[in-house]
């Protein structure tokens, strides 16, 4: 990934008649990057994408592609191509005509159109559907055709609006890998919109977690997952245990926190300075917790058990506080069993309470 900025949003705001969809957003997207806009529905991620594509005009701010201001350019005048959730394949045209549509608009001659279209169909591994109509294709095939129709234009930026949303789980997994491979092979900048955190974590170079038209955190997947900036991000990208407490002191990069139920706990503090006496929450991911009596230990009772195949989810009640534990399927506990739970201090982080649901 080079460090050239491909797409830049400067203070972009979009106000619809009844709401602010995107609020004063700054964002740099680098050349060859796979960036995901992740958030719940109505958070402004699709609006952001549509503004980059030129399908919406920002109320305020500028959009630059290749350093050139394209805020008011038509979709056809931008070096971008968008893939819609419903694929938007033209139902009255054959697959070949669909993929050739953009080339035809560029005035490329018929013979060359066909050569390029067939190349593209080979590339997305659908060589045999040239003469079919979209309604004769399966969902996965439609998706590949839509991808081919966008890629044949050789855009610098490919915008994807929840492209896998309509596929079943198995196919979605396969297409995730394939999209990522295609992105690597072509070197095209992908801007990907999804509300599926797993999809975002698997595919992205960076994730922008959005809420209420604002980016809450912009970071690589591992940072988003392991060091979420606030409670919203933490909850959105995965399940979590949030243990409230009061800061006692800070020592060797770890913070000592007291909790009514569990006593004294140690946790990392990536945010930096913190005052003694401050109300905080400690985040521990359920898969970081195991049954043993070391480190941050608590004693509790199993109150529920759910078999999920590769693992077992337990809820453990410790002095009124319920902890979620994702355990190995080999662990075999029963409801009512007394157990010791623990996690390493480095696997838990401090989340200042005043960061919750606020923006900086």
């Amino acid at each position: 990934m080079s460090e050239n900025v491909m797409v830049r949003l400067e203070g972009v705001t979009k106000i619809f008649t009844d709401c602010t969809a995107v609020d004063n957003q700054d964002l740099d997207i680098y050349e060859g990057e796979f960036l995901t806009l992740l958030g719940p529905s109505g958070c402004g991620k699709t609006t952001t994408l549509r503004m980059i594509a030129g399908l919406e005009i920002p109320t305020n701010g500028r959009i630059l592609i290749h350093g050139e201001d394209v805020t008011f350019n038509l979709p056809s005048e931008r070096d971008t191509s968008i893939m819609f959730q419903n694929y938007a394949l033209f139902p009255h045209k054959t697959v070949g005509e669909n993929i050739a549509f953009g080339l035809k608009m560029r005035g490329i001659d018929k013979k060359e159109q066909e050569i390029k279209v067939r190349e593209m169909l080979d590339f997305v591994q659908l060589p045999a559907v040239y003469d079919r109509k979209p309604h004769q294709l399966s969902g996965g095939q439609c998706q590949r055709v839509a991808l081919a129709r966008s890629l044949v234009m050789q855009p610098s930026v490919l915008l994807l609006d929840e492209p896998l949303g309509a596929l079943d789980a198995g196919l979605r997994k396969a297409m995730q890998l394939e999209l990522k491979n295609i992105q690597r092979k072509t070197g095209i900048t992908f801007i990907y919109v999804t509300h599926d955190q797993e999809e975002a974590l698997t595919m992205s170079d960076r994730i922008a977690v959005m809420q209420n038209g604002v980016i809450e955190q912009l970071a690589p997947p591992s940072v988003i997952y392991e060091q979420p900036k606030n409670e919203f991000v933490a909850k959105f990208v995965g399940r979590c245990n949030l243990i409230p407490g009061k800061v006692i002191e800070q020592e060797n990069g770890l913070v000592l926190v007291s909790n009514d139920a569990l006593g004294r706990l140690r946790a990392k503090n990536p945010a930096g300075e913190i005052r003694a006496g401050e109300e905080v929450k400690i985040l521990v991911r359920p898969e970081k917790v195991w049954f043993s009596n070391q480190n941050n230990t608590a004693n509790g009772t199993v109150i529920s058990k759910a078999y999920v195949g590769s693992r077992v989810d337990y809820q453990i009640e410790c002095n009124g506080l319920v902890l979620l534990v994702e355990a190995d399927a080999l662990v075999d506990l029963y409801i009512g069993d007394e157990v010791d739970v623990c996690w390493e201090a480095k696997d838990s982080i401090i989340m200042p309470k005043n960061f919750c649901n606020t923006t900086e």
Binding site: L55, P75, F84
Partner: protein
């Protein structure tokens, strides 16, 4: 117990028969006059009475021999044809802009497009006659054409709007994104996808314009349409040729309705 079920069963059977009879009566009331019209158009006698003494095609022959009948049929076909094409073109653009533009007062625009449908034809006819008279436009088939547009455009607008409303916006957005201008998108995407609506609109407005009497009566003088010709033939006493004309008109309408239905079913 068994008795009760049989009772309920026979009651249901009875209701079914009742419903069937009702349907038959309605169909009878609707279609018998038309059937009689067709039957008497082949009857030899000058008067419409039973028993029919013999069958003949002479009324058809006489009708086609009368140049004024042929002329009025021609007038009506030209009128209905041009009205339906014009109304459909205007209706298409009206429907497209009513759905896709982001102009203000879109709702007012839509309802003002539909208003003429609510105005009685006789008022439209009188108003337009006064209007053309004051503008010194001579009454002719052309003024009838303009008059018919006032109520066929809303029909076309409604029919085509229903169709375009079913086309997802993303098709057009995808076309723009792939480099098509608005106009090219209209031609490449919207037009082919709203084709069933356009056909339906053409057929619907054609039959309305072909049958319409009141507005045509007020807005023409010497160039008669077929309904006016039929009316003026009948005010001087019954003429069996009218049965032949009626049968022909029925046939033309039937063909058009059949085409419209087929078009509608092909879409399902």
């Amino acid at each position: 117990m068994a008795n009760r079920t049989t009772n309920a069963k026979s009651k249901m059977e009875f209701n079914k028969v009742l419903l069937l009879m009702l349907i038959l009566i309605v169909l009878f009331i609707i279609y018998v006059p038309i059937f009689l019209l067709i039957l008497f158009s082949f009857s030899e006698g000058r008067f419409q009475v039973f028993p029919i003494t013999g069958y003949t095609l002479k009324w058809y022959a006489q009708m086609f021999a009368d140049p004024s009948f042929v002329k009025s049929l021609g007038n009506s076909l030209i009128l209905a044809g041009s009205t339906s094409v014009t109304a459909t073109i205007i209706g298409f653009f009206g429907a497209y802009s009513a759905l896709r533009s982001n102009m203000k007062f879109k709702n007012i625009f839509s309802s003002s497009m539909l208003l003429p449908l609510a105005i009685p034809y006789i008022l439209l006819g009188v108003a337009l006659r006064i209007y053309f008279f004051n503008l010194k436009v001579p009454l002719s088939l052309f003024t009838v054409y303009l008059g018919h547009l006032t109520f066929t455009i809303p029909l076309a607008f409604l029919t085509i709007r229903a169709r375009i409303a079913q086309i997802p916006m993303t098709y057009e957005e995808a076309a723009w994104d792939l480099g098509a201008s608005r106009l090219v998108t209209l031609k490449e995407i919207v037009l082919p996808l709203s084709f069933p609506g356009i056909i339906a609109s053409l057929l619907l407005t054609f039959t309305f314009a072909f049958d319409e009497f009141i507005i045509a009566y007020f807005l023409t003088r010497f160039e008669m349409t077929l309904p006016i010709k039929i009316w003026s033939t009948l005010i001087t006493g019954f003429d069996p040729r009218v049965n032949a004309v009626g049968t022909m008109v029925f046939l033309i309408t039937l063909i058009i309705v059949f085409l419209a239905q087929k078009n509608a079913f092909d879409q399902v």
